[in-house]
């Protein structure tokens, strides 16, 4: 079975105001092949906005790896890359 991917969207006020709200609705936008294997959660401020080296808001984590300046399309790309890594691992 496909390994599941966990997407954690920062729901801190700064991320939310700068477009994070759209990321919470990722489920509706995922392509069919990725739908059903992604768990999407919103979490209170992840604290990344206070770290000047973390990059731009909004922040989201894909299996714990931070994506900064996230948009729906960059998030879908990141989820797809993660899925490919997991699938290669499953084959090996």
């Amino acid at each position: 079975m496909d390994k599941r991917i966990r997407v954690t969207v920062c729901c801190g006020t700064a991320c939310y105001v700068l477009g994070g709200s759209d990321l919470l609705d990722l489920g509706e936008k995922l392509p069919a092949d990725l739908r059903g294997r992604v768990d999407i959660d919103g979490e209170p401020c992840l604290g990344l906005c206070k770290d000047s080296k973390a990059g731009a808001r909004p922040f989201v984590k894909i299996d714990g790896v931070v994506l900064s300046g996230a948009t729906v399309s960059s998030l879908i790309d990141a989820v797809r890359s993660r899925a490919e890594v997991l699938d290669r691992g499953a084959l090996a």
Partner: protein, 498 residues
Amino acid sequence: MNANNDASRLRRELLEEVARTFMHDPETGSTEGLGEIDRVPFKLFPRTQKSVRCCIYRDRAIVRYRLLAQLGFAIEDEVDESTSLLAYAQRVKERAASGTVSGPYLTVIDEACNSCLRARYMVTNLCQACLARPCMRNCPKQAISIDRKASIDEEKCVNCGLCMQACPYHAIVKLSVPCEEACPVDAIAKDESGKEHIDYAKCVHCGKCMVECPFGAIAEKSQMADVLSTLAAARKADSEGKAAKSLVAIYAPAVAAQFTEGLDKIEASLRALGFADVYEVAAGAEITAQKEAEELSERLEKGSGLMTTSCCPAYYETVRKHLPDLASRVSSTRSPMYYTAELAKADHPDAIIVFIGPCVAKKKEARESGLVAYVLNAEELGAMLVAAGIELGSIQGMAPKALAGKDGRGFPASGGVAAAVRSKLTSLPGCEYGCASECVNGLDKKGIARLKLFAAGKLKTDLLEVMACEGGCIAGPAVLVNPKRAQAQLDTIIKNSD
């Protein structure tokens, strides 16, 4: 366009910078902190960054104009290009001290305007100059001739688009000017140089041009800096033990629907920003619905026919400027903002009332009301919260005053006002009868055409709800989230009402 795109993100980042600048203004009255505003164009577009436009210097120049609008100045009023943003920020403080804001409420950032090609149909070089020539044969005005390639005689063309539909090669395209296409009242047009200008005699402040411009070239003249200056002055006076006017926030249910956290946390966060008291505009909406139901029942008894709602200021302005035949049909009941401001004034007679909504046109209504001093939008509220470091998720909530219920909180979605009026109507004494109602959901060109049919009596109903924004206020021009999410969040708020 979606509420979240790169243009709206830039606008919100800039609002956050403006908010931060005015919050960090030392309470001693020193303007040292305000000078930071001149660094913002460099901070957002440092030399090492890839430019969005032709070069980083142009990007910075445009950011400067965006900031000018966010400080509440019309770009059209600029007299000296070399004036620093600090000088403008200082003028904000003077303006706030005298409490004056004025229209118009939208401004065109000509430097950002793309001068889009004039709207028309154009034949591309995909044209095969075919034998069948469906474009020519379908053109009702004989505007197309073919000489190796089709061409459209612009003198004859009436922009019906039949040629584009007929071409099997998809060789004919429609060139659009998004702001002009969005404007329901033809109030925005090009000058000789191709830049857009707003005709304020026609403009109804619906904000659709601002939302649809892909270059973010149309901006609201913000009142946020005035509010922040006034809040800082009140705080300073308070710390020195002097008397000062306090500020009271009244927030629209459409703004509550922008956030996931619910009313308690929104009220607490407004207090944390420095507002002395907070009211839900849904409270005033209950009064509007009640009064509108009473007015409707009188009209029904007299058999005087159609009554339209009156709470959408862009609709009301459209009637005033473009549909005078409907004027007698608009309910004389005031808006939820007005009645909420009255409630707030009754408790705090000297307070400065600040309305927070999703709307541009409310700025005009506020000014004319004589009750509401300032209007903030949802993006500005968001920017203020971020700049102040207020975390909605972790703030201790404060329960709202028990003044509003399901009817009032349901106002900002299409159909919500009509539903509330009908609900109040059935509970009027001796008024068991219901009424017929219809909605004009969005004032686009089709919506205006439908209104004209109602005005002419060709369409009939008892109660006509009109909202300028398709979907209602939750899909207003200055919101934070897409309408679907706002609707879901509003539904939760309504469900949690008694």
